[in-house]
């Protein structure tokens, strides 16, 4: 089948990816610059037998997504900074109750209502630590419209595979920009569905993990009776005050990711073989980094790029290998220095680390990165 190239917006690609991955429930509260995700979901879900609901606020949107997923429907919500803050408590609930779901944050300038129509990458640490307590986190960050489609599919797959909330960290530029894309045929996509129990209904132990640390999940309401709570619980799902149970549960939730990190972590690197300087960036900034790299290579400067696609868990093994070979890593991001903290933690004793930061509401331009590279060389 010939694929048609078309102009598509990042937010639209997110919905296309979600539906292709099997999203059949969306709950949320619209907020710029993510609003098109809600609008297009409302328009498209009925055609595939899905449901859309606009809730009274972002907190309720996240809660409804948890409920929808418990009944067996792949569920998603989308928001931006202020709403991402509001959703945090329920994201923690989804983490401890092991509810697969996808949360999209199209980042805008903060704090508070900040700059509604401007891009930012100020929520990347909130993605890791926004909800309280130790918990597993998977966060993906796309740098193009096509990749937004791909990573939305992947976010659902990872959520289903590991029974947990997965965050798709977009930014205003990627969410709002339109570019030429050719979407894959749905039959070419790998779609993962959650493990469901195959035992008798009265034998089901809802939170008893398999060897992969992931418990099979029964759709609520079909006869597998179990208890769901945000409290620490034993394998039956009922609350427990046992220190042993608490220790086992929290460690298992976190180990679930640690055990499978090689399946989860993805990155992209270019021209790193002979690089003396590596530009580290993610999301829309990596587009500026690539332009900067090409301009510098034209001048004979040995520069490469490293782009984490999965930001949490962080691709630290590969970055450390590269750090040992280069003089400097420059971390370019639209915040005052967030992911750079992780780069410093991993590479501080190995190479020099420098920064390009911006919080004006404008994207980082290639020239700003070029200037920094020339300064450090």
């Amino acid at each position: 089948m010939k694929k048609e190239a078309r102009l598509m917006q990042g937010n639209e690609a997110c919905v296309e990816g979600a539906i292709a991955a099997g999203m059949r429930f969306y709950a949320g509260y619209p907020i710029t610059p993510s609003t098109e995700i809600a609008e297009i979901s409302a328009e498209k879900l009925p055609y595939v037998g899905g449901k859309f609901i606009q809730m009274e606020d972002e907190i309720a949107g996240m809660a409804a997504v948890i409920g929808g997923s418990l009944t067996g429907l792949k569920s998603m919500t989308a928001t931006s900074g202020p709403g991402f803050s509001l959703k945090q408590e329920n994201i923690g609930y989804a983490a401890i109750a092991e509810i697969p779901c996808v949360i999209v944050d199209v980042q805008r300038g903060g704090p508070s209502t900040g700059q509604p129509t401007c891009p930012s990458q100020g929520d990347v640490m909130q993605a890791k630590w926004g909800t309280h307590g130790d918990h597993p986190v998977i966060a993906l960050t796309p740098s193009s419209v096509k990749e937004t489609f791909d990573l939305t599919v992947r976010a659902f797959n990872l959520a289903e595979k590991y029974r947990m909330p997965v965050l798709l960290m977009m930014d205003e530029v990627i969410g709002h920009m339109r570019e030429k894309v050719e979407l894959p045929d749905p039959s070419e996509l790998e779609i993962i569905d959650r493990k469901r129990p195959d035992c008798d209904k009265d034998k089901y132990i809802a939170f008893k993990p398999d060897e992969d640390l992931v418990p099979p999940m029964a759709d609520f309401g079909i006869g597998y009776r179990y208890h769901v709570t945000g409290l620490v619980h034993d394998e039956t799902g009922f609350p427990s005050n046992s220190t042993k149970v608490a220790d086992q549960l929290i460690r298992r939730l976190v180990d679930k990711i640690e055990m499978h990190k090689h399946d989860i972590i993805q990155w992209e690197e270019e021209n790193t073989e002979d690089a003396e300087v590596i530009i580290f960036s993610y999301g829309c900034v990596s587009r500026a980094a690539r332009t900067a790299m090409k301009a510098l290579r034209d001048k004979g400067v040995k520069v490469g790029t490293f782009r984490p696609i999965t930001i949490w868990p962080f691709p630290e093994e590969r970055l450390l290998e590269l750090a040992k070979k280069v003089k400097t890593i420059i971390v370019a991001e639209m915040n005052l220095g967030q992911m750079v903290l992780e780069v410093e933690r991993i590479c501080n004793n190995v190479t020099k680390i420098d920064r390009v930061n911006k919080v004006s509401g404008d994207i980082i331009y290639p020239e700003e990165i070029v200037a920094k590279v020339e300064e450090v060389l």
């Binding site: 190239a5 102009l7 509604p116 129509t117 530029v173 920009m177 570019e179 030429k180 090409k294 331009y365």
Partner: protein, 179 residues
């Protein structure tokens, strides 16, 4: 390599985001790559608005305009705000209501875009389509057939003739502006 960086600027409500989308789609119809981005204030109407389109035969990395080849300014404010970003050999297309600075050195085409939409078509909402006709009439950056196909794909049913007329008027005032 042929590459155009285009900035369409004016005030919110003039339809410039849609104009940018249509321009990008015209380029895709011609088999080129195109990226469209936008910037606007929190207000729905009246604030400054710009839509940017980068068109290239090659892959487009950086999505925003850096060296503007073509600037459309429909308002005085947008002219003053974005003029400095237009490269020296760039083309400035302004509505005839815009007064250019004495120091203005760019190649200028002034056309009655806003007035034509109101007086010749009686519909201020086709301002953006008149503007597209004007830009393409002056620059030929995409083929007229591709532009018309892209316009007709995006406009509401029943307004096809109105929009074709809007394009024709855009080409006409472009011709006059080039004399």
């Amino acid at each position: 390599m042929e590459k155009y960086e285009v900035r369409l600027s004016g005030s919110g409500g003039q339809g410039l985001l849609l104009a940018g989308i249509i321009l990008a789609e015209s380029a895709i119809i011609e088999g080129k790559n195109a990226v469209q981005t936008q910037s606007y204030g929190p207000e729905a109407r009246g604030g400054a608005s710009k839509s940017e389109v980068v068109i290239s035969d090659e892959e487009i990395d950086f999505p925003k305009v850096r060296n503007c080849d073509i600037l459309l300014a429909l308002t005085q404010k947008s002219y003053e705000q974005y003029n400095h970003g237009l490269k020296d050999e760039g083309i400035l297309i302004i509505d005839s209501s815009v007064k250019v600075a004495d120091t203005e050195k760019h190649k200028i085409y002034s056309a009655p875009i806003l007035e034509s939409a109101v007086n010749k078509l009686g519909k201020p909402m086709v301002t953006n389509i008149v503007a597209l006709g004007t830009i393409v009439g002056i620059t030929n950056m995409v083929a007229r057939e591709a532009l018309e196909a892209a316009v007709l794909k995006r406009v509401p049913k029943g307004t096809e003739d109105l929009n074709k007329k809007a394009l024709a008027i855009g080409y006409e005032i472009a011709q006059e502006a080039m004399v």
